[in-house]
C-alpha cells in the first residue's frame, strides 16, 4: 500500500485492530488518532486511558491476563491506598502510575499532550505515530438515569449500570485537531480506518473535534469502518447496552448509518445478519480478534478492501 494509513481508535477493542495494522504495515506509515474523551484527573494525576492502552498495546507492554493496564504490574500503591481509606474504584498499577505522574508533571510544565505522547511512544520503541485527537481537553459526559456523569464515573465507578439517554463532549467546541492528527490526515493517506471501537463513546468524541470530520472527508483516502458488533452484539463493553438505551437497533446497518456521510466501505462480521444496502461497499469477514493472527488477518483484509475501493474510484 502506497502512502500512510490513519486509524481512528478508542481503547481496548480499537487497539486490537491498531496492533494488527501495526504488524502488517511498514510501522512508520501508521498513525493512530486516539480518543481523549475518557481522559480525566484522578488523585491529582492526568489519566488518558485510551492513549495509554494504545501505547501499551503497540509497545508490547499490555497486560494480556487482565485485558487492560500494563504487563509485569504490581499493586502495592492500590493496596496501601485502600488501607488508608483512599479511592480505589479506578485501579492504578504501580507501573501504570509512573506514566500518569510523568504526564502530569510535563503537562503542568507546558508540554503538549501530543509532544509528550510522541516522546513516550519513542521510549516504548513504537515506530507508528500515536496521536491524541486534540491537545485541548474534551471530556465525555453521559446523561443517565442518575443524572449527568463524568465518563469514568459512568464507565468504571458505576460500571455502565445507569441507563444512558444522551452523551455530550464538554470542551469540544473550543478544541482543535492535534497538529500531528491534522498533519497525518493532510498527508494524502492511502486508507482511513475507523476501528471497531464504541461509536458513541470512543469514536464520536474524536469526530466532535471541530474540523476533524472535514479533514477525514477531505483526506482523499477511502474511509472504512469496522463494525464493533459480532453476532448482533458488542464483543465486550457497553456498546450494545447503550444502543438499546438510545433506541438504536443493534445492527451493523445502524452503525453504518451512525457514520453516514463519512464511509466509503464497511466491514461486517460474518456472524451478523446481512446488513442489506448500506450505500457503500460491504466486506463480510471474521472481525472477532482473539489471537494475534486474527488481528493481523483482519488488518490485511481491511487494507485490501480499502485498496479495492480506492482503485475503483
Amino acid at each position: 500500500m502506497d502512502g500512510g494509513v490513519v486509524a481512528i481508535s478508542g481503547g481496548i477493542g480499537g487497539a486490537k485492530l491498531a496492533l494488527g495494522l501495526y504488524r502488517v504495515l511498514p510501522k512508520e506509515t501508521l498513525t493512530v488518532i486516539v480518543n481523549c474523551g475518557d481522559d480525566f484527573d484522578h488523585l491529582g494525576l492526568r489519566i488518558c486511558p485510551d492513549i495509554d492502552t494504545t501505547l501499551y498495546t503497540l509497545g508490547g507492554l499490555a497486560n494480556t491476563e487482565l485485558g487492560w493496564g500494563r504487563r509485569d504490574e504490581t499493586w502495592s500503591f492500590m493496596e496501601t491506598l485502600g488501607a488508608l481509606g483512599g479511592e480505589t474504584w479506578f485501579r492504578l498499577g504501580d507501573r501504570d502510575l509512573a506514566l500518569h505522574a510523568e504526564r502530569t508533571r510535563r503537562l503542568a510544565a507546558g508540554e503538549s499532550l501530543s509532544a509528550l505522547i510522541a516522546d513516550i511512544a519513542g521510549r516504548f520503541r513504537i515506530r507508528a505515530a500515536i496521536v491524541p485527537m486534540s491537545d485541548e481537553p474534551v471530556r465525555t459526559r453521559v446523561q443517565t438515569s442518575e443524572g449527568e456523569l463524568a465518563f469514568q464515573d459512568y464507565f468504571v465507578r458505576r460500571r455502565c449500570a445507569p441507563q444512558v439517554s444522551a452523551i455530550r463532549f464538554e470542551g469540544a467546541a473550543r478544541a482543535r485537531p492535534s497538529a500531528p492528527a491534522a498533519a497525518a490526515l493532510a498527508a494524502h493517506p492511502a486508507a482511513l480506518i475507523l476501528c471497531p471501537s464504541n461509536p458513541y463513546l470512543s469514536v464520536d468524541p474524536i469526530l466532535s473535534v471541530p474540523g476533524l470530520r472535514d479533514l477525514i472527508r477531505g483526506c482523499g483516502a477511502p474511509v472504512i469502518a469496522v463494525s464493533p458488533l459480532v453476532g448482533g452484539d458488542a464483543v465486550k463493553g457497553p456498546t450494545g447496552k447503550i444502543m438499546r438505551e438510545l433506541g438504536v437497533p443493534l445492527t451493523a446497518a445502524a452503525i453504518a448509518r451512525h457514520y453516514q456521510g463519512l464511509l466509503d466501505g464497511f466491514v461486517v462480521d460474518e456472524r451478523d445478519p446481512d446488513p442489506g444496502d448500506l450505500g457503500c461497499p460491504v466486506h463480510v469477514t471474521n472481525t472477532l480478534m482473539k489471537s494475534l493472527e486474527d488481528r493481523e488477518e483482519l488488518a490485511r483484509e481491511v487494507l485490501q478492501f480499502a485498496t479495492r475501493i480506492g482503485t475503483g474510484r
Copy 2:
C-alpha cells in the same frame, strides 16, 4: 509520670527517641510535634518526610533495612518513572506513594494537615498524637555556595554538598501553631523533650512558627534537649557539616547555647567531652540509639531527668 509528654522532633534521629518515649510511656499521653519545613510538592504530590517517618516509625511500618521509608516496599513506580525519563532523585516507594497521593487529594479537598495526619495515625493504630508544627506551609530554604536551595534540593538532590551560609523558613511569619500542637502544650504537660534532631534544619523550623516558642516556655514543664552529637560529631546527617560551615563549634555546649532561654535540662552523650557549665542541669549518658532497648533506655533516662528537674523547681 503524671501528665502528658510533648516531644519536638524532626525525622529519622528524632523519631528514634520518639519511639522510645512511645514504648515506655502510656501511649495516649505522648504528643510528637513534628517538623514540616522539609515538606514539598513533587510530581504533583504533597510530601511530608518528617511526619511520614514518625508515622511509619511509631506505626511499626518503618523500613529498617533502608533506614527510611516503608517496610515491605516495592519500587515499580520509580523503576518505570526512570525508564520514562522522569525525575527519580527523590526515591518514592509504591506504598509510600499511596500516602502522598491520599494526602494530596484530601488537602486539596480542604482538610487540614493536622486532621489528615490524625486520621492516618489512627489507621496505623498509633495511639500517640503525631501533630504537624503548623497547618500553614513553612518551607526551609538553605542559602548555599550554589545560591538559595529548597530544602529537598539541598538535602536529597544535592546530598548536602553545597556549603551552607544561612537557613530561613519561608512562610513562617504567616504560620500559626497547629491546633493540636497548641492544645498539647496548653494541657500542662509533665515534660517537654527536644529530640536529638538537627537543631538548624529540624527543630528551628518548628521554633520559627510564631507563638510556638512562647507556648513551650509557658507550658510549665521542664524543657529537656537531647544533644544530637555523639563523640563530637553528628551520628548521621549533615548537622556536623552545617555547624562547621556556620562557624559554630561542634560541641554539646554550642547546641545548648543554640537553645538558650528554652532549656531546663540538657542530655549529653557520654562519648562527648565535659560540656562545662551550661546554665542548666546536665545529664550524661549513652545517647546512641542502635537497638530498640537503647531507644527505650534513653527515653526512660530523659523522663527521669525531667522528673528530677520538675520536682526540684
